[in-house]
Amino acid sequence: MTAAVEVEKLVKTYGSVRAVDGIDFTIETGEVFAFLGPNGAGKTTTVEILEGIRPSTSGQVRVMGRDPWKEGRELQRKIGVIPQDFHFFPKLNSREAIDLYAGLFGVPSRAKELLDRVELSDKADALFENLSGGQKQKLGLALALVNDPQLCFLDEPTTGLDPRARRAIWAVIRGLKAEGRTVFLTTHYLEEAQLLADRIAIINLGHIIAAGAPSEIINRYGRPERLRIVADPALAEPLRRQLGLPVDVQNGAISVELHAKGDALKVLSWVESSGYSYSSFSTAQDTLEDVFIRLVGVSDHSALDLAPEGDSA
């Protein structure tokens, strides 16, 4: 398969700010690629360079075989885009917005089909200014699909949406993948990246600090599985001495790193026989979120928008 996007040594500076500082990545045709990073990491800057609406400072960029800045017009006919903070003409309703886009792209308007697809049919006649944030994003997604693009750039399509609206958009993204389209998704939501993406790149301060399939990233950067025991913290010290496993005390729970298969059993039987009291135990494995937080060096969870709940699908 040919690469849909190829980026080499891409740099973008705004004055003294190095928003993108020499990144390389490739997106294969047909894959969902997620760009994951905290605020100000350089996600939007990168996406806008790929869409041909922002020039790069240096480096090589090819999108569907084209230089996006020089051949932006031709490229933009073939890609679909939801910009971050998508905004549209306040006095047009959803159907008219799609009709307008269809007219500009010179394609027949499939307003009904697209509005159905993003579950916005009930708001077909509502003016853009009267749509809720999530409904606006849905319309943005519908507009991105008007020209039947083979490559879609979705810059934070679900930020600020409630869990239901987010799932609706996830379903559309899965549909895009099923149809063989390539999707470049940026997100703050680790869970979203993990659920949707074939491959992820974690970007921070303009650098890609990890890349690969979600499971690869967790395996490579995640800590080993741990046993978490809610017990008297005094238990920690003898446990470490007796079993020779790394032990950590966090938020009133003792966390023991498990290195071998039988380690969990060994720890439990030792605790049982030690006479110390404990209330519960569970095993824990690093999620993408743990990896992300460690890699990005953010210890404060509140600095991130964490997805409120998981998707069981």
């Binding site: 922002r54 306040p90 008219e96 009709d99 307008l100 007219g103």
Partner: protein, 366 residues
């Protein structure tokens, strides 16, 4: 340039405009309110006596002077003897936008004395029917009196009637072209200043730049819309002026070039003002600084000729002045040569500003 993209965008732009009550208010409703207010205030300021410009070729003979004195005493006309125009009274009247004239031929007194027939020539403007009627009635009345008195009832003095392309103008007549100019100025200025500054902030240009629509197509669609608005506004104002105040205005071909070039000019001004300002707030201030002096000093509400000399000088550097003067020349005076001169000024200024606007106005940030 692609016609179907321009059409698609034009439709969307028009919907956006029509659904925004503020824009429509300033384009259509507000000028009509102004017509109604100003028209009602100044409705009765039109002259009652019709000025009658007289060329006396009979060397101020006592008979001709007596004839004019009789005319003046009717109270219907105000006789104003002008220096002879070498038989070109009609042109003089048209140039001075006057409605009625009279030529007393050489030999008027001699004819009365010799009881031979003599003919005075009356110029009136058929489009100013009431003034024409007043003048003709007054002249005929005085002729009859002269024939009875001097010729014992036989017809010696008679008159022939010629038309001139001039008439008396009331305030409302000037107000209509002025307010058409007002509308041509304000609707593109208000919205272009706003669009070129806030659309950048709201990233709407970025959104459009992701489609095949080009900047030139965008601008064309917007200008077409303002041209259409200007034409609609002009027709509505002419209709209201005529039907409510009996204004002497009608739809003439000469107004259309101004209804096209004018919006192009002010769309460009609005774009420039919006593009050079960093924030929508500054843009609004710059827009108003341009808009208000132009609005008041270009002959929108009062004819520039009624201004003090120094303000007239200022008016002559404002592009709106030429739009309004051109509309006056076209709609009121049927003065094609004058309108053409104004049109040339407007087109040249519009072209220059359009080119400047195209070069300073960009969809892209940085």
């Amino acid at each position: 340039m692609n016609g179907s993209r321009i059409r698609s965008y034009f439709v969307a732009f028009a919907k956006g405009y029509i659904r925004n009550p503020v824009g429509l208010f300033f384009t259509l409703i507000f000028p009509i309110i102004l017509i109604l207010i100003f028209g009602a205030v100044f409705a009765n300021s039109g002259s009652v006596t019709v000025p009658l410009y007289v060329e006396n070729l009979d060397h101020n003979s006592p008979a001709s002077v007596a004839f004019l004195a009789a005319l003046n005493s009717t109270g219907a006309v105000r006789v104003d003897v002008i220096s002879p125009t070498a038989g070109n009274l009609s042109t003089y009247l048209a140039k001075n936008s006057e409605t009625a004239g009279l030529v007393i031929p050489d030999g008027f007194q001699a004819a009365l004395v010799n009881r031979t027939h003599v003919n005075v020539v009356v110029f009136t403007n058929p489009s100013a029917a009431s003034e024409a009627g007043i003048v003709i009635g007054a002249v005929t009345g005085v002729e009859n009196a002269f024939n009875l008195e001097e010729a014992k009832g036989s017809v010696i003095v008679s008159s022939s009637y010629l038309n001139v392309g001039s008439r008396i103008y009331t305030y409302i007549d000037y107000l209509i072209p002025g307010l058409i100019g007002f509308s041509i100025l304000t609707s593109p200025m208000f919205s272009m200043v706003n669009i070129s500054s806030t659309w950048k902030r709201d990233k709407l240009f970025r959104q459009l730049s992701l489609t095949p629509l080009t900047r030139a197509e965008w601008l064309t669609a917007a200008m077409l819309w303002y041209v259409l608005l200007a034409i609609v506004a002009a027709l509505v104002m002419i209709f209201v002026g005529r039907s409510v105040f009996g204004a002497h205005v009608s739809v003439v071909a000469w107004m259309f070039p101004f209804l096209v070039a004018g919006p192009v000019l002010f769309v460009s001004v609005g774009l420039i003002a919006g593009s050079v300002s960093k924030t929508p707030e500054t843009a609004a201030v710059i827009g108003n600084v341009i808009l208000f002096p132009m609005m008041f000093l270009s002959g929108t509400f009062f004819p520039v000729s009624s201004f003090p000399a120094y303000l007239q000088t200022v008016a002559h550097i404002l592009p709106l002045y030429y739009v309004i003067e051109g509309l006056n020349n076209g709609i009121l005076f049927a003065n094609g040569a004058g309108a053409l001169q104004d049109l040339i000024v407007v087109v040249v200024v519009a072209t220059v500003l359009f080119l400047v606007a195209i070069s300073v106005f960009s969809w892209r940030e940085n």
